[in-house]
């Protein structure tokens, strides 16, 4: 029996909670507001009891794969385990009940956490200053690019372009456009890394920044990073780092030491805050000293043992969201860093790399490794050899669901045909890794010997393969009474 929508449950006038008492029954809203301000048609909201609410959403939750129930090696997303202590402590009412406009002296605890988290992130990344304001990685990218823009404008040179490798996350070019820059894509070299000669050709005084990820989106470390930084700086451009792949580097190598001027972190990836079905995340942006004056306001500063929100920053780019950022996500990252310490963070990165390399080494012969370089925390294989059996990477992904695994990221990076991007993270046991490897190898066999099985997969999920073309063609983006159901 498929789960109904909440609108298809309940009955007229059924109530789900006891709403607060109306102590002012004698007041009449028609006397408080002019009639033409008042809504005439009430919104159609559910009319369900509390138990219907709880059962409905509990049942829906059970239709999800998630880190708590399934191995979720979604490359580039770093789906590692989220320690429960983070959930517990971030829901303390001393944090959840803080209003952003309370006087500073009432919120010293929260400010202390933000200030210290900022310091730790600067140390981990090798930077001098930071803003915690952005809500997500891509929001951090936009912020970072706006900082770069402000820096160049302050120096009297506007500059118009940002260079991005063709392997970059899709958000990188989109953020460039949003920041008013033209995104110049350069092709990756044969080894999957940045082609230094192509980079040199594109670099001129119009380039504001080179925007890259290291390790890159193939999971490969850009060994020429110092050269790339030198070339970038030689034309006065800045080097932007997409921090989505920081999980490979903690305690091992610091982007700031590689020559990056700006880097965003994804707290929900590297620092173990849950991904919430697609957010909230948090995308702090760390910078070298030269870019500090342009950080969004307010910046948290410490004076005489007290923390303050400093708005007096005349060169600031302004704000990228209201208030200060996604506080509970910051708090979870703070807790994680304090529990791991230097040694723990290093071990996390080492084991993330160890696990990725293990999986890739075990599956690369049955699939195909398009760039045979040692993978860092994630690796990209290709399913192109199964095309002769009529099997696409999508079919492989769907079949993995039957084996009880969330599939890797597919069709990314775009430069790899039929790509599967696998990121196991450090929090998985060897038993899980081995089970996944077995499933991948079984599927490779099935693709050759029983391709129909894959084409019709998944077989065991609550719904079978969904028609995405129909969804885009016959747009149904909301439930409509009497028409919503089947």
């Amino acid at each position: 029996m498929p789960e109904k929508l909440i609108f298809e449950l309940g009955r007229r006038d059924r109530e789900g909670v006891s709403v607060p008492q109306d102590e002012l029954k004698t007041l009449n809203i028609e006397e408080l507001l002019p009639k033409d301000f008042l809504r005439d048609k009430q919104p159609c909201l559910p009319e369900v009891s509390e138990i219907e609410v709880v059962r409905h959403y509990t049942r829906l939750s059970q239709l999800n794969f998630c880190v708590d129930t399934h191995f979720y090696p979604l490359g580039s997303c770093t789906m590692k385990y989220n320690p429960r202590i983070g959930e517990k402590l971030s829901s303390l009412s001393e944090f959840t009940n803080l209003h952003p406009y309370e006087p500073e002296e009432l919120v010293q605890g929260a400010l202390k956490i933000m200030f210290e988290l900022g310091k730790y992130l600067c140390e981990i990344g090798g930077f001098d200053a930071i803003t915690l304001q952005p809500s997500a990685g891509a929001h951090g990218e936009l912020t970072g690019l706006l900082l770069i823009r402000a820096y160049h404008e302050y120096k009297g040179k506007k500059r118009s372009k940002v260079i991005i490798p063709d392997s970059a996350h899709g958000t990188n070019p989109a953020s460039c456009t949003l920041a008013g820059y033209k995104a110049i894509e350069i092709k990756s070299g044969k080894d999957g890394c940045i082609d230094i000669d192509r980079l040199r050709e594109e670099l001129d005084e119009e380039v504001a920044a080179v925007m890259i990820t290291n390790p890159n989106t193939l999971g490969i470390f850009e060994e020429n990073i110092l050269k790339i930084a030198e070339l970038t700086h030689s034309v006065g451009a800045l080097l932007y780092g997409d921090g989505a792949n920081m999980n490979a580097l903690m305690g091992i190598s610091r982007p700031g030491d590689m020559g990056f001027d700006v880097l965003h972190f994804n707290l929900h990836k590297t620092f173990s805050a849950p991904h919430g079905g697609g957010g909230p995340g948090s995308g702090p942006v760390a910078v070298k000293r030269d870019l500090e004056p342009f950080l969004p306001v307010p910046v948290i500063v410490e004076r005489d043992g007290k923390y303050h929100l400093d708005y007096n920053r005349p060169l600031s780019i302004g704000k990228v969201k209201s208030f200060y950022g996604n506080f509970p996500v910051m708090l979870k990252a703070y807790i994680y860093i304090r529990m791991m310490g230097s040694e723990g963070l290093k071990k996390a990165s080492e084991n993330a790399v160890l696990n990725a390399r293990y999986i890739i080494s075990k599956v690369k012969n049955d699939y195909d490794l398009p760039y045979d370089k040692p993978p860092m925390h994630e690796g990209v294989i290709s399913g192109r050899k199964f095309k002769e059996y009529g099997i696409k990477t999508l079919d492989i992904a769907k079949r993995l669901l039957d084996y009880g695994f969330h599939p890797p990221t597919i069709y990314f990076p775009l430069i790899v045909e039929e790509a599967l991007m696998i990121e196991p993270t450090e929090t998985e046991t060897k038993e899980t890794l081995d089970a996944f490897i077995n499933a991948m190898l079984n599927i490779a066999n099935e693709a050759k010997n029983n391709p129909e099985l894959l084409k019709n997969a998944p077989h065991k999920t609550p719904v079978r393969r969904l028609d995405e073309v129909k969804a885009a063609r016959d747009l149904k983006l909301r439930w409509v009474e009497n028409k919503g159901g089947l």
Binding site: V19, L27, L33, P46, Y57, Y72, I113, H275, Y324
Partner: protein, 448 residues
């Protein structure tokens, strides 16, 4: 180390299988000069019991709305949250998946987001909603960018009675992309000056944006806005920062808004020191392909069963890259889920009741203050927030802290010309007795 399960033996087996001696070798291709050859300067690691003590110690320094009766609003409103919300959100199946890229394994998240979109369309009386953006401020900025894409024009006009932080965010987003942002003033009664606005509209103007109720809590001239929208060829963007108001007040669709955005914090999301909150984004159907962010659509599976998927992804950054309608990837789904459970729980009748209680309690306090000789800063209809005139709002705030009140937000912080204004927000969490006490307190400090 509890979060990293490998034993030494596990590690040994994997290293052997890879044919390498130790973990250092995994990184041998990273140039020596950029290898970190020292530990990170971080505090010593703590066990779970130690971090718990440490965080509780830090937490105890905070003084939130627990310890005080707070009248702070200004874009973040303190509302009661039904227990169902936290209970369901605390399930791992809700908080520990990611963006539903594989719909067959994500029907839970997708179904809830489809319900969310439906609820937002209902509340705002708009035709289409996305599955959330970061917060109200970024929603407004994205709305302005969307209007500029639709009209292919160059400027937007903002009412200066929009939340000051929202206006700053809009400017940060738009000006770097080469667009112009103009502001139009508010009148003595706190409402946006529509006559001046009309004169400011040029051929370059893509859209005009208002907030309702606006930053001062004042309800805008909805009839006037509607007429203006009908007579001028520019888009109307409405921003609803306190959506609990929609149980009482006319929704954006009814006054011809083309794009209506909002802050969904009031729907089951804690104050959280300012975030994460919930950006609501709705529009007319004809603009759906210009909309930013993720959208969930209904479809069927190969057996004909109803199911839900992310759709219209050709607008998005992973397909269109530099030409995408926005760069949003991780959005605020969990907050959208909270809002959905909140609205399902309070339901049709409850929502209306809560909305009315907010209105009544705020008006009750305003009445009590008027009885005590106070003047409202703006003589206009308001919903659950209003400004009063005081000789020194700062002093009221400081004295209030000694007496257990956070008296409100001095308007001077954002509007230097309104130095006598104290913005006061009342919601269903305030009881009548505490409102009376607060009125007495303000009367005491009135002339100080």
């Amino acid at each position: 180390m509890p979060f990293i399960p490998h034993t030494q033996e596990d590690e040994r087996e994997i290293l052997d299988s890879l044919g390498i001696k130790n973990k250092e070798e995994l990184f041998s291709h990273i140039p020596q000069e950029i290898r970190l050859n020292r530990p990170l300067h971080l505090p010593q690691p703590l066990s779970e019991v130690e971090i718990e003590k440490e965080i509780q110690k830090i937490a105890s320094v905070n003084k939130g709305v627990n310890g005080y009766i707070s009248f702070l609003g200004g874009g973040s409103y303190n509302h009661w949250i039904p227990s169902t919300v936290e209970s369901i959100l605390s399930r791992g199946e809700i908080f520990s998946p990611y963006t539903p890229y594989q719909p067959e394994a994500s029907q839970g998240t997708l179904t809830i987001l489809f319900e969310f979109q439906t609820m937002m369309c209902e509340l705002f009386e708009m035709e289409v909603s996305n599955a959330s953006v970061y917060d109200g401020a970024s929603a407004l900025a994205e709305a302005c960018l969307m209007a500029l894409r639709i009209t292919k024009k160059e400027e937007v006009i903002l009412s200066s009675a929009i939340h000051p932080e929202y206006r700053t965010v809009v400017k940060t987003y738009l000006q770097s992309a080469g667009f112009r942002v103009k502001e139009t003033p508010f009148k003595k009664n706190g409402k946006t000056d529509l006559e001046t606005l009309e004169r400011n509209i040029s051929n370059d103007t893509a859209a005009f944006a208002i907030q309702n109720p606006n930053f001062f809590g004042v309800i805008e001239d909805l009839e006037g806005l509607k007429k203006l929208r009908e007579s001028k060829d520019i888009l109307l963007i409405s921003c609803i920062v306190e959506p609990i108001s929609l149980g009482v007040l006319k929704p954006p669709g009814s006054y011809k808004s083309d794009i209506a955005v909002g802050e969904g914090k009031s729907f089951g999301i804690p104050l959280n020191f300012g975030g994460p909150y919930l950006g609501i984004f709705t529009s007319k159907m004809e603009y759906v392909r210009n909309m930013p962010g993720r959208i969930v659509g209904e479809t069927i599976d190969i057996e004909g069963k109803r199911g839900f998927v992310l759709t219209l992804s050709t607008r998005e950054q992973h397909i269109r890259r530099a030409k995408a309608t926005s760069n949003i990837c991780t959005n605020h789904n969990m907050c959208a889920i909270a809002a959905t459970i909140y609205l399902a729980s309070v339901g049709k009748n409850g929502f209306k009741k809560i909305s009315e209680i907010n209105l009544k309690k705020a008006h009750f306090l305003a009445r009590e203050l008027r009885k005590r000789g106070f003047e409202l800063l703006f003589d206009s209809p308001f919903y659950n927030e209003f400004a009063i005139k005081l000789r020194s709002p700062e002093r009221a705030l400081n004295t209030g802290l000694e007496r257990g009140f956070i008296a409100g937000l001095p308007l001077k912080r954002f509007y230097p010309e309104l130095e006598e204004g104290l913005l006061i927000n009342v919601t269903e969490v305030h009881d009548v007795l505490s409102l009376e006490k607060f009125a007495d307190f303000l009367e005491e400090v009135k002339d100080a």
